[in-house]
């Protein structure tokens, strides 16, 4: 058994789905230019101390990768309804490799979003040391873990007809509460936002301030959501494959 071949074709598939790529890469890119270009000379956005091109670059990378990762996992529902998952269950493919491959494919499409938005950010004057870029990217990738689990959970729970509305609505809400569009300032909204993983994705832009990108709360929130959603995703997977 050559698992690598299986994984490779799953990755190829995820890149070939043009509509999905355009949506997850093109959409945040267009939004970025629309919102960041007029504010390109704003160096202290909403008192955050972060420049507008950087803040929105990370914000929209967060939104785009969130959609990519949740959507990638949730597309399991299409394979499930088509009967493909049943076919896979009759092969030696184990659950671990199957789910791991789905996560890898979702991360691959997220990588396209990140690269596209970094390029856009640089074109609007974002500049940092290589170490900071690296640190920020690492934080984004770690921050996406709970969303990968969320995508797999949704893929095994919801039907294809509910896929669009669920992901669209959720990403709009999480994006807003995450502070994708503007820093949330202080107050109740900020307190609520801090408990959500999307907030910490956007906070990865704080690396530009020289301090740490995430506070201890950030690591705790991301860790807790990752564990909780992974448990739920594993439950949804098992429940789904035991049925039929």
């Amino acid at each position: 058994m050559k698992t690598s071949t299986f994984v490779r074709y799953e990755l190829i598939r995820s890149v070939r789905n043009r509509r999905f790529l355009v949506f997850t890469v093109g959409f945040p890119l267009v939004l970025y230019f629309l919102i960041a270009t007029p504010n390109r000379d704003e160096h202290d956005l909403g008192g955050s101390g972060i420049s507008a091109p950087l803040y929105f670059m990370v914000g929209l990378a967060a939104l785009g990768t969130m959609n990519a990762v949740v959507g990638g996992g949730a597309r399991i529902t299409l394979e499930r309804v088509g009967g493909w998952t049943r076919q896979l269950r009759l092969t030696p493919l184990g659950a671990r490799v199957y789910l791991g491959t789905k996560v890898a494919a979702a991360y691959l499409s997220a990588a396209f979003t990140i690269v596209a938005l970094y390029a856009a950010g640089i074109s609007l004057g974002v500049s940092m040391s290589a170490a900071r870029w690296l640190e920020m990217t690492s934080l984004l990738l770690v921050g996406l873990l709970p969303f990968a689990a969320l995508g797999i959970m949704l893929g095994h729970l919801i039907g294809p007809e509910a896929l669009g509305p669920t992901i669209g609505g959720m990403s709009a809400l999480l994006g807003f509460l995450g502070g994708v569009w503007f820093p949330l300032g202080d107050g109740v909204m900020h307190d609520i936002a801090q408990a959500l993983p999307s907030f910490w994705l956007v906070q990865a832009s704080h690396v530009s301030l020289g301090g740490e990108g995430w506070s201890a709360t950030g690591w705790l929130v991301i860790g807790a959501w990752t564990v909780a959603l992974s448990v739920l995703a594993a439950y949804a997977y098992r429940r789904d494959t035991a049925r039929a």
């Binding site: 058994m1 050559k2 698992t3 690598s4 071949t5 299986f6 074709y9 799953e10 190829i12 598939r13 070939r16 789905n17 394979e79 088509g82 009967g83 493909w84 049943r86 076919q87 269950r89 009759l90 092969t91 030696p92 493919l93 184990g94 035991a242 039929a244």
Partner: protein, 300 residues
């Protein structure tokens, strides 16, 4: 169980809860298939064929009874890559070419056939570079067949494999299946077509209302199901008087007698010779449905 038993179903039972109550889909199925046999699971729609196959493959857990495939529980046999399966419905993974999909699935098995070999065997080489979402129904079905064969499995399970095919592709499908089976593969396929079971299988297992009602070589099954029936209005003749040449059995419903025939032509002549007063004579071909009904009644 002997060494060469590939499929062993023992007293399988399965019920489903539906909005109208509990439906017993499988009510005690026993089945044993030896290595190298080609067996048809034959029955009308709704007889319990697909449920039996789901149970056999471990896709559904039985309420009672046991399944052994190659001496192991079904999930172990499938996890070892020993069972090639073509389920009744199923889409293909999109955004890959046919060749890529077959390659991808071949990679999951310990000792697969060569990809090129399978493409040729199933006759899908001409469409090998086409994306799976651009295939016709018949082409999709052939690719699904290729995916069932690619692991080079000792056991092949096919659930109504030709349902979506036209006559020509159906023929091509069975030619390929037999070619593959000639390697010594054990094959179990479900069908609701008697002719298909007769032409392709060594043995047919008739299933009706969740029970096995007959399990015999296909020529015997065909003889049973192929019987014709004579009905005639013939008052006052005792059934014992109706033991005529070509008649296997007789029944009476009021003034009407019903003769189940092994040779209807012979029986009809004998009937008219013996009872010229017989009126309203009807000759009926016993279709598969009727054969099922009779066999089901006999089994109950």
């Amino acid at each position: 169980m002997t060494e060469s038993t590939v499929v062993e179903l023992d007293s399988l039972e399965k019920s489903f809860r539906t909005s109208t109550g509990v439906v017993a889909a499988v009510r005690g199925v026993d089945l044993s298939i030896r290595a190298g046999e080609i067996v048809a699971l034959l029955g009308p729609n709704g007889a319990g064929k697909s449920t039996t196959i789901d149970l056999l493959l471990g896709l559904t857990q039985p309420d009672a009874g046991t399944v052994r495939l190659l001496g192991r529980p079904p999930h172990e046999a499938t996890a070892a890559g020993a069972v090639g399966v073509m389920l009744q419905t199923g889409s293909l993974l999109r955004d890959l070419s046919v060749r890529e999909l077959v390659t991808m699935m071949a990679a999951l098995y310990p000792a697969p056939l060569g990809v090129q070999e399978v493409l040729q065997l199933v006759g899908i080489e001409p469409i090998a570079d086409r994306r799976t979402q651009k295939l016709s129904g018949g082409e999709t079905q052939r690719v699904r067949f290729a995916l069932a064969l690619v692991s080079n499995p000792p056991l092949l399970v096919l659930d109504e494999p030709t349902v979506a095919l036209d006559v020509e592709s159906r023929h091509a499908f069975w030619v390929t299946m037999r070619e593959f089976a000639a390697r010594g593969t054990t094959v179990l396929f479900a069908t609701h077509m008697l002719e298909e079971a007769d032409a392709q299988a060594d043995r047919a297992v008739l299933i009706a209302e969740g029970r096995v009602v007959a399990d015999a070589p296909t020529n015997e099954i065909k003889a049973m199901a192929g019987r014709r029936t004579i009905r005639a209005t013939l008052p006052g003749v005792p059934l014992t008087g109706l033991v005529l040449p070509g008649v296997a059995g007789a029944d009476r419903r009021g003034d009407t007698v019903i003769l189940r025939c092994t040779d209807a032509d012979l029986a009809l002549r004998a009937l008219l010779d013996a009872f010229p007063e017989a009126r309203g004579i009807e000759l009926e071909g016993a279709g598969l449905e009727q054969a099922f009904l009779e066999l089901t009644r006999a089994a109950a």
